[in-house]
Each structure stands twice: as C-alpha cells, then as structure tokens.
Symmetry: C2
Subunit: 394 residues, 2 copies
C-alpha cells in the first residue's frame, strides 16, 4: 500500500460519458419544474457558507419564510435537507425520550412521523383514518385528553391522499391540553391558505420543491415561542447533533448571540435558489397564489369529471389544490396509464404513496407549473391514455 | 381565522430586492469555487427523484465514488446532506446504544464524532492530541486493546490543523480487534492518496465542496462488507429514519431488491453537480490529481517560507496538500489579516476551527482552485497584508 498506486477500473470509464437528463413535465406531487429564474439563482457562483453576504441571504430567507408562513416567529429558518429533515428536526428537538406524542395518520406523512418518534424513544399514540379521511376537532380533543401528549402532528397537505386538512381551532385545543401543534405543509404551502400565527401552529415546516419550485434539498421551518420554551428547556440533548436547534438557531442568527459559529456547511446554491423562490411568492402575494391554485385546480377537476373520472376526495373544500387525486378508473392498470403518459407525453403523473398505493392517480400543478395551459395538457394526455390503455374484459 | 386574510408585512417588502452575491476567491478550507461546468450541471432543468434516468445518474455517481475512493464496495452512495450528515449516518448505523466507540481527536472532526456518538448512547473513548499531533499505530493498537470498541474514527484530512494522517496498517489493526475503521476524507479526497480497499477502511466519507468543487449539500460515503454485516445485523433500529441505511441502500439500488421505494426526496440538482464533479476527477485521473495538489502545495509552502512565515505542520509528509496551515505570525492580529485580504483582494483565507482557533491561518487550494497562478495570487495578497497590518509594539 505504501506505493499508493490506484487501481484502474471500469468505474472510471463509466464516468467519461456526459450527463444526460431529459426535459419532462413534472406534474406529479413534486418535485415540480424549476423555472429558469430559480435555476439561474441556484447556478450562480457560490460564496462561503459563513460570509457576511451569506448571512444576509439567510436573513432574507428568514423574512421570506415569515411571510410565506404568516408568522412573526423569530425562530424561523431553512433546514439543510428535504422535508423529512425538517420532520426529524421538529420531533428530535421538541420531544424527549419517554414523552408522549400523538400522531394523526391519514396517509403516509403521519406514518413517517410516528416512525421517527418511536425511534427516538417517544411513547407514540395515533389517531387513524384510511387515506382520504380527516379528523374532527372533537376527535382530536378526545385523543389529547386521553393521551396527554407533548406534541400533536397533523398534515395540512396530505399529498398521498390529496386532502387539505382543516386546521382552524386545532392549535387552541392543543394548547388547552398543554400540547404543541406540529403541522406539515410540504404539499400545501402557497397553494392553500395557512396562517401560522393566527391559527396557533407551534411548529410548521414545508419543502422547497413543491409550490415554491426550488430544487429539493432545503426545507423552511418555524417554531413558536411556546415551542422554543419547550425545546430550549429540555433535560436531555437531542439525539442528533446535526439537527440540534441550539446550534441551528445560532447558525441562522436567531439566538441573539453576537457571533455565528460553524455548525455544518449549508447548501449555498440551494439557499440561493430558495431565496429566489420565496421572492417570487412575495412578489405574487400569498392571496393571489392561493386563489390562482384554486382556480386552476377547479378547472382541472371539471375536466377530469368531464372525462368520466371520479375524484378521490368527494368534498371540494377538503381537496388539496396543489395535488389532485383521482380514483383509479375501472378497467385500467394504473401503472400502464402512467407509463403511457410518460412515454408519449413526457408528462409525469404518479400513483399513490404509502397507504394510497393502488387507490389513486395523482396530478400536481404547483407554483410555476400551475396554469390552465398545463392543466389542459394534462387532461389531453390523460384522455389519450384512457383511449389507448383500456383493458379488454377477459 | 375563517376568512384566511394574510397579514401584510415588512417581511414581504424585504424580499422584493434582488439576490446579491459577490464574486470571491474561495481559498479557505472549503467550500471552494465551483467551476462553470459544474455550476451548469447543477443549473439544468431537473427531473423527478424517482425517474429511471435519475436512478441512472445515481448509478453513475456510485461508480464515480467507487473510483474516487478506490473501492469495489457495492454499498456506495451519496448522502443528501453535507459531510456531517455522512458522519452521523456512519455512527448511527454502525453503533448500537451501549457499544464502545474509540475516537481519535486531534482537531475538530474527532470532537464532532465523539459528540455524535455520545448523543446516540455509545460509550465513547478518546485518543487525544493537540492540533497538529498525530497517532502512531502502536498508540492506536494499545487503545483498541484497552477499550474494545466496535468502531474507531480517524480523520485522514484534519483540515482544522492541516494534517494528513497516516492510514497504512490502521485497518488491519482494527480488524485484529474486531473493530471497524471509519475515516473522514472530507478535506483530503482527490488531494492526498487514499485507497479504501487496499488500506482496509470500512467506512469512508467525503464532502462535495472541497477538491470535488461541487456546491455543498451532498456527501459520498461507502461501507465495506464487514461494515454492512455489522449494520444490517443490529438488534435495534438506528435512531434516525432519514439516515437509516436499510432505506438509503434501497434508494440507491444497493440492496438487490427489484424496486426502489420512496424514502426521501434527494437533492436532484446537487446530484447533477456531484456527478459532473466526479466525472472531472475521473477524466483527470486520481494519480494526476494527487500529484498536482502536491506540486501546487509545495510551491505555496516555499512561497510562505520565503515570506518568513512558519508552517504549522513541521513534517512535510504530514501536511495536507489541500489545506495549508500557517502559524499566526507574531505582531499580527489574525482577524485583521483575514479581513484585510478579504476587503482588498476578494480572497477568503480562514483562521483555525474548533481547537485550532487562534493558532493558525488556513489557505485551501482544492481541485479547480488548485494551480500555481492562484497560489501566487494568495501569496501576493498575504505579502500585502503582512506589510499593511503589522501592529506597532506598544
């Protein structure tokens, strides 16, 4: 070994081909297409993760998230990772081993939070509905009274079922039982109304790659003062050093200390892109973004019903405007439909996810992708596939 | 709340300014400048994280890492995160609570691994040297015999002190004591010889933003069969769902199963950029990359000594070619030197990190940044600063 001669390998030869990636309409539940303006921001020459200009950009991101979340929380930042990183960060920092957690499961996201909380040693209780179902405030209150959790999880945008969950009043009920409310808005932010402060949400997170149209890899998150009180007065250290909010709050300049210390190296290009995506949302305005998503979704829903398809979520008010779920039509193989549309129309739709696999097809039109021309293109592709892929009745 | 009227806020106004980021020579210990070719790859329109073409790109990344690491390990992949993510992934997956871990601390990286291992419930033992020190194989063997750890950590590229640690023979000693060898090559990969298989390293990781010149946010990692045997036969689940190698190995197509299931959304743009950076290294060839870094480093070292400066690592063979540490010259305030060079030359050098703060200045010339013209520019900037920043003897 002392000579340190590398082996020549086929691995090397394999890397001498150029990078290839096709253009594709990403009309699934995300990532969605990234507009040129955000791609250009992410493709700019980088600066150091601890340069003062970078801290300025991070301060802008914080403001942009405060606007998008409708919160004045000081403890607002972006995770260096996808929505799952924010999910783990919330649970790891808020909950101590042995504490009780209540998770509303009506699709994949609740399943994931329950798994994360179990692994770090929480006592996990669940409220359960099959995909498409939702929870009444009375059901939630009953479970809070019974299990006395320190944290209650609810997915606002349940993208695996296409449901947007009512949030009004849930925060107040949680606080009555001395419980913090954690809400997932990965699929709903910018598409469906959500007001963190007015709705008394304690921890809210989202992803970069849905209606925000940035590449995946960053995840906005915010903590209320109540949540900060719990997480900064714990007896044990969070199990992850990387996700420890004591360090992350310093990195984001949220802890009031004069100096930001090195914790980890944040995704500089990802933060450039995220800043641009939050700027676009601020320019458009939240109200406009919400009403625009609703308008395009209603156009899509009408078109789908005109094709004879059944929407999976019956109640219009509970339909997620960003991700529409369609009951798989009888006489079709859903995988064949998706493959046909991908092959002949360069369009991605997807099937279900987790418990909704085999139940639904999903069409996502989010942010940059959300307009009637794209909805019409999606409908035409689906119409073609329905003609071509019908199974003969054996 | 039922009306869902957003508040208008100053946060929104703040986001209407354009993104600004200066051009800067990143001659610190990383991130280093990203060449146009890699920026362009990272700025391409994205595809879905589960599309077959994306799996093809991930397969290429795997080959590129196998080449860069000089390993034929099947369990080779890139983390969706920075080097710290790889560090936590290694410890979380290999070690179970209550097991013994030995950490060589001669700078910040050992400190971090010890902290991570303690949080997840390992019994942590340390071997300690002040920054700049290194460990003999006899010292390592003595500690292995005493503490019987399941894992031994060593930083190959100790960037906080500028030391490249000898690795020859360490793997064999570890295996003699039934211990796995975990090596950090974040700062050294591509700059100093390292041969994972020949040197019997069980877990090796690096970062994307050093000699690979990709933006920060992805981290190559590889596990030997011995490491896989330990991590896939554990009694408890790793504490992190996000970093669980059972799921990550499936996402990367390394588990032999026919279907890759959704785990998390990987950083698509980051993977595009990482693939390009690994392709550049393969095109250049590892031997050339190593000798080139050594040649430029020797040119820099000579120039620094000609300026009357003292290199922090006395033994030339123990100096990291990618990151050079200089003892802070008498009669100067190191912060003032760095600020002067940044302001007047648009060049980033840095001070120490963790235990080496106040001991050293650091100059990094890595990958794309590694050439004699840049070394000459760095030397000229430093010469200027030494003239302008001398303190009067009070």
């Amino acid at each position: 070994v002392s000579s340190h001669q590398p082996i020549n390998s086929t691995e090397k030869a394999c890397m001498l081909r150029p990078l290839e990636a096709p253009f594709r309409y990403l009309f699934g539940p995300g990532p969605s297409n990234v507009p040129p303006r955000i791609l250009a921001a992410g493709g700019r020459p980088i600066i150091g993760h601890m340069h003062s200009e970078m801290f300025g950009i991070m301060n802008d991101i914080k403001k942009g998230i405060q606007y998008a979340f409708q919160t004045s929380n000081n403890m607002t930042l972006a995770m260096s990772g996808s929505g799952h990183t924010a999910m783990e960060c919330a649970v790891f920092n808020i909950v101590e081993p042995g504490e009780s957690v209540l998770v509303a499961i009506n699709g994949i996201w609740g399943e994931r939070v329950a798994e994360i909380a179990e692994r770090m040693g929480a006592k996990v209780h669940t409220l359960f509905k099959t995909p498409g179902g939702h929870f009444t405030n009375a059901e939630i209150e009953q479970a809070l009274a019974k299990h006395k959790p320190v944290l209650f999880f609810l997915a606002h945008g349940e993208s695996s079922s296409g449901l947007v969950h009512p949030v009004d009043g849930v925060g107040d009920i949680c606080h009555k039982y001395n419980c913090l409310l954690l809400v997932d808005s990965v699929a709903s932010l910018g598409a469906a109304p959500l007001l963190m402060d007015q709705q008394n949400i304690d921890i809210l997170y989202t992803g970069s790659q849905k209606a925000l149209n940035a590449p995946p890899g960053t995840a906005p998150i915010s903590f209320s003062e109540r949540a900060c009180h719990k997480m900064f007065n714990r007896k044990t250290k969070p199990v992850s050093y990387l996700l420890d909010m004591t360090h992350l709050s310093n990195y984001w300049g949220n802890d009031g200390k004069p100096e930001r210390k090195y914790h980890h190296t944040g995704p500089v290009s990802g933060f450039f892109a995220l800043r641009e995506s939050l700027a676009i949302l601020a320019e458009m305005g939240l109200e406009n973004s919400w009403s625009h998503h609703t308008e395009v979704a209603e156009y899509l829903w009408k078109g789908l019903e005109d094709l004879g398809l059944k929407l999976f979520i019956k109640d219009k008010d509970l339909r997620l405007p960003s991700v529409t779920t369609i009951a798989i039509p009888e006489g079709y193989d859903w995988k064949e439909l998706l493959a046909y549309i991908m092959k002949h129309h360069q369009i991605e739709f997807t099937g279900g996810l987790g418990p909704s696999v085999g139940m639904v097809l999903r069409i996502g039109l989010m942010g940059y992708n959300c307009n009637k021309a794209n909805a019409a293109m999606a409908l035409a592709a689906l119409e073609d596939a329905l003609k071509q892929c019908r199974k003969s009745k054996a």
